[in-house]
């Protein structure tokens, strides 16, 4: 039997199998993309309530109280970040980071494609809370069809008076622009995103000053991920206490988890944080093919240190548990490698990506990613010696923490973890090649 609390939760989130759908609720309905469809499920009622009845500070404290953590990778408290912006009548900006480019991540794509108005409503409410008059959605250029969907939804929201001048007659204004990027992973880094939005090459900036103090056009700027902002209407509607009833104490709420790689049912699943990782990989995604076993997985996108099956499968899937295991929840994207996958090759694939995407501004990242690719190519070609593995490891150590942004670290952490945890496999590849030469 459900207790009253569970019952309350189940009427406002949707239980589908092992999933708890809050953000993906009604997402199977194609009409949800349109304003009429979204309104039909009660959409924009929270925006109306917030703009007409609530003070910005009330909204802000509800967001802070909810404990919502950023869903883009860093996991920082969303409400706290919004509270860092100075008060008063100054030009402030909101940038929704929709540049999802982390290998393994595809949740924001699903959220924008299926429920664009939920995001727009979240942006409008967050802008109200932080006193922001100008908002942007920076979407990666590859997501052309999703950007078209957003363009149409934004136009509908303007038409209905949820955006633009004098929203719902409350004398509050909000301009929202969908800005398409042009293909660069680095633009997902928040300060590079700002440079790209200002019309420059996407190079990261030195921090501090942090964007909340000095961001877009030099003004205070709130930068949040698509999934984070999509949570906002639900929190403001149902209250922080309700939201904290989902997930764990340190990771409240649900999470749309992208599961891919060697699993039978890859895709996005929305679950309460804290669910067991085994349940996600085997229960929801169907586990690896018949007769195969999970060898390792990235728990939070390609930047997260890989976990071996025996290290990670029985952990709860939460920010704190993944951090405790020496990895991270990141963007919440699980990539599974089964026993057929060669870890040295996977390390090379990972390194090549970061080498290609390094913007070249900081030497440790530009050169470090380049050398790591060259060394790993030697390994898989059978031209390396075991000593080279120590060099690979030391290159990674010399990247971490030495650059303006964490792109280099994002290669160094997983590659370093692979060399450390699967050293025998790297050595076997090298030894095999030596045998052939002899």
């Amino acid at each position: 039997m459900m207790n009253p609390k569970e019952r309350e939760q189940s009427t406002r989130a949707e239980i589908v199998g092992r999933e708890t759908r809050m953000l993906l609720k009604h997402a199977e309905d194609p009409a949800l993309r349109t304003l009429a469809g979204y309104n039909g499920y009660g959409g924009y009622a929270t925006l109306e309530k917030a703009y007409r009845e609530l003070e910005p500070d009330e909204v802000l404290s509800e967001l802070e109280e909810s404990g919502l953590r950023g869903r883009g990778g860093a996991g920082f408290s969303m409400g706290k970040k919004a509270s860092f912006l100075p008060r008063g009548d100054v030009d402030k900006y909101l940038c929704c980071n929709a540049d999802e480019s982390e290998p393994g991540a595809f949740k924001d794509r699903e959220l924008m494609q299926r429920n664009p108005h939920q995001l727009i409503e979240g942006i409008a409410i967050a802008s109200l809370a932080a006193g922001i008059g100008h908002a942007f959605i920076f979407i990666r250029g590859e997501y052309d069809s999703q950007a078209d969907i957003l363009d149409a939804a934004v136009a509908e929201a303007y038409e209905a008076g949820y955006l633009g001048k004098d929203i719902l007659g409350t004398h509050r204004d909000l301009e929202l622009v969908v800005h398409r990027g042009a293909g660069a992973y680095i633009c997902g880094e928040e300060t590079a995103l700002l440079d790209a939005l200002e019309g420059k090459r996407g190079n990261p900036r030195l921090k501090p000053p942090f964007p909340a103090v000095q961001g877009l056009y030099g003004g205070p700027t709130l930068i949040n991920n698509v999934e984070t902002l999509s949570n906002v209407p639900h929190i403001v509607k149902n209250g922080a206490e309700w939201f904290k009833g989902f997930g764990t104490e340190q990771s409240p709420g649900t999470k749309v988890v992208s599961i891919s790689g060697c699993v039978q049912r890859p895709g996005n699943y929305e679950v309460e944080l804290g669910i067991s990782t085994r349940d996600l990989i085997y229960g929801l995604a169907g586990g690896p093919a018949e007769g195969r076993e999970v060898k390792a997985f990235y728990p939070g996108g390609s930047s997260s240190p890989v976990l071996k099956a025996d290290e990670g499968l029985d952990l709860p899937y939460s920010f704190e548990a993944m951090a405790g295991a020496g990895s991270m929840l990141g963007s919440g994207s699980i990539v599974v490698a089964d026993d057929r996958v060669s870890i040295p090759h996977m390390a090379l694939r990972t390194a090549r990506f970061y080498h290609h995407e390094s913007c070249g501004k900081c030497t440790p990242c530009r050169e470090g990613t380049n050398w790591t690719v060259k060394m790993l190519e030697r390994v898989v070609r059978g031209e390396a010696t075991p000593m080279d593995l120590d060099i690979v490891a030391s290159v990674q150590e010399n990247i971490i923490g030495h650059c303006l942004c964490v792109l280099g670290d994002s290669m160094a952490m997983p590659v370093g973890a692979m060399v450390r945890k699967f050293r025998d496999e790297f050595e076997a590849v090298i030894a095999e090649a030596e045998l052939v030469t002899a």
Binding site: G17, G141, A182, G261, S333, F353, E357
Partner: protein
Amino acid sequence: MAELPVDQALTEGRVPGRSQEEIPELHEVGCPPELRERIEALMGRYPDRKSASIPALWAVQRLYGWCTPEGIRQAAAVMRVTPAYLESVASFYDLLHTEPVGTHKVAVCTNISCWMRGGDELLDAFREAAGDDEEFFVTGFECLGACDIAPMASIDERYFGPLEAAEARTAIDQLRDGAEVLPEKALEKRPLPGGNPPAADAEASEGDLR
């Protein structure tokens, strides 16, 4: 010992170039009116007009197929920036082409999840099917954000997957014939992997269904 010439920059410092690049005038560049209007509208969307540089380059690429030097000069004249500035932006981003490319663009993901499921083989199949036909621009690409349909490809900016290597030829033939490409493999048609909820029952209407 013969005296070697010494670079003037070492002894006297570098003399600033006199031919600083100028912003082209509109009447010099022959900008088509529709491109000019489009870029002006784009500039109006931002507090700072330079924010329109990526959207303006997209507009140039839509019109000419790639970011041609003439197109960049036209955009620069409308935006009142130097062509070199826009070129520096265009050359940074993977989706903006500063060299001619084919009309049909096929980007095959070769990143981790697609690689595990045959992305490399799919890329080979597309390359072979397109052959040396210059109508097609086939490239391997970093993660396109669709690992759920791995291995996948973005064909003329729309996503398709999961694809068998043999479907590469079908897709190329369909593009040649102007037919709809792999309709059953379009991302838009894919349901949620966890399935749909059971039909809303009477009880559900008690609570607020938001």
